[in-house]
Amino acid sequence: MHIQDCTENTCVDQIQKIFHTAEVEIQRKKRVKVKLRLDLVPLFLSYARDYLNFKHLAHISCVDWIEENEFELIFMLWSYEASLMIMVKTRVNREKPEFITLSHLWPQAETYEREIHEMYGINFKGNERLGEFILEDWEGVPPMRRDFDTIKYSKENFYQRPGREDAQDVRETISKHSGEEVPDFAKEFSIRRIEE
């Protein structure tokens, strides 16, 4: 079936009719959120592309929920006819993250997958160009994972020029140099450092 004037509500109904396990909600105007089981996602995406006319893959994103030991994959599809975006969300196990590639549906998905593979270590089966994309000679934990500590890494690997320490709160430094008095409400902020 072909929906020319698909609105948020008809879209939700349509999806729920076909995918019973999907949690569908209208996030706001022009945004429909769909939560799906991992194995249904490729099916749903090709259904959305071919039958609901969501032709444009706008975005593939990934969030690391380290507390729940899961990665969340998010796919955004846009329909030119209906001016509507659906956000498809699914969870992948963090221990052995694997998903299949979407590059047969959208060629540009390959790029997103390459980046997510590099930054999170999720393996997209069927994508032949996984591997070095942005980083070069990177060893160790994929950097965008929550358990990778960038401050520690940069302190260990790069020479840090001294003199930055006192510049973390400009206000304090200025008052030290010029004798300006820091007001009470500002003192409260200056205790909190970025590094904590």
Binding site: E136, D137, P143, F148, T150, S154, N157, F158, Q160, R161
Partner: protein
């Protein structure tokens, strides 16, 4: 014919004068600072008044303008590029992030102090430096050249080991890409 000390000096003066007034900048936008280079070179600020000019390849260039932070991947190419340039050559560190990392102080992929890896003659601070400060940086470089103090390339050659050691600390795989020229 006797060797005349003065004549050599005159040659030096002429050479330094020519070098000072003809600085060819390598067209290599290594970072986001590259956005302020076009305004510097075009009609509003017109860097050509001071003899600044773009050069297409490292062989022809005199000045390597490091426009901002350097990712380690770029650092590798920049070192390669710098070593392809013909001396006398100068390096200008452009923007705060070349001096102490700037706002990228905790990033895992950018170097924090450029002068550990390449000999920097002049730093221009700011994020971004305005075209005026870029020009003033170049005028400072011209001053250093005419005083004979812009000798970063010599420093680099003399202390190559120190520089190499620092470079290799950051670039894990020291295999340069296979250029065949």
């Amino acid at each position: 014919m006797t060797y005349d000390k003065n004549s050599k000096k005159i040659v030096d003066i002429i050479q330094n004068f020519a070098r000072k007034h003809s600085l060819w900048i390598l067209a290599y936008g290594t970072g986001c600072g590259a956005i302020e280079v076009p305004p510097t070179m075009t009609s509003r600020y017109d860097g050509e008044r001071f003899g600044l000019r773009g050069a297409a390849t490292p062989r022809q260039a005199d000045v390597l303008l490091i426009t901002g932070y350097l990712a380690t991947k770029t650092l590798k190419r920049v070192i390669r590029t710098y070593e392809q340039m013909q001396s006398p050559k100068y390096v200008i560190g452009f923007g705060s992030c070349t001096i102490n990392g700037g706002m990228y102080w905790d990033s895992y992929n950018t170097i924090k102090a450029l002068d550990r890896y390449l000999p920097v003659d002049v730093y221009i601070n700011g994020c971004m430096p305005r075209p005026e400060s870029v020009i003033s940086g170049f005028i400072k470089l011209q001053q250093l050249i005419s005083e004979g103090k812009a000798n970063g390339a010599e420093k680099y050659q003399k202390n190559l080991e120190w520089y190499r050691e620092n470079q290799k600390k950051v670039i894990h795989n020291w295999k340069m890409p296979d250029y065949n020229w």
